[in-house]
Symmetry: C2
Subunit: 154 residues, 2 copies
Amino acid sequence: MPIHYLEDFAVSQVFKTGRLRVDKEQIFAFARQFDPQPFHIDEEAARQSLFQGLAASGWHTAALTMRLLVDGELKPAGGILGVGFDELSWPRAVRPGDELRAQSEILEVRPSKSRPDRGLVRVRTTTVNQNDETVMMFTGNLLVPKRPALAQKG
Amino acid sequence: MPIHYLEDFAVSQVFKTGRLRVDKEQIFAFARQFDPQPFHIDEEAARQSLFQGLAASGWHTAALTMRLLVDGELKPAGGILGVGFDELSWPRAVRPGDELRAQSEILEVRPSKSRPDRGLVRVRTTTVNQNDETVMMFTGNLLVPKRPALAQKG
């Protein structure tokens, strides 16, 4: 898998990931540690909640998406370093047995004005389940180094 | 701890949390599962990265913040149900030994136009370390039910 410097990114490129299956025990384990609300840790309470059934914590979906990205095609030099998001949503709950995959589209590539050795790549990542329904979507900026030889000229 | 219905929220209210300490093993454990990049799982690699030392995954900080919130003063009826964020950033790395706490400020309270039994509460949550330095900040909307008796009148 090639490593991508800032110069390798261009608007509308798409990077895919593999798949990850989520089971009930994983949903419980994450939620007990980080988000122990009834609809994430108790099936009966979940049925009576707005979720109408057991649902993964949104932060679990985010963490699983990160794992998909780290193992996927998007390989910025220096790693996947998100500096922040300006849009993040969970349009649909993640359920036990769901199989997730993600896809990242490049929206913008900007060299840094203050730091000649790097830039920002604006990316929209969409996580879908096995029915291609979006379970999470976020748009934000990754910090990506320029190719070292070019940076030395700057 | 009282439960908060939509009618109980007002702009500029502040809800606090307790504290959570993060150690190196927790940073490793989360990162090995969800964000196995060198700067989150290897101290030597982390020293040579942009982080200049071991740093927690941003999603770990998010998950810890959720745990602080669930155990904190903010108790919307029906749970803490985020429908999405429109701003999320990690201004500073979380390091081994850091002790985090969070604070949520109410920015806006809006009854739903289509669903008379609920509304949206816009909240800015700030997570800080033991030196009061912000490590994460996000702004988004929580779905909050109205008090049932009032909803029945509507």
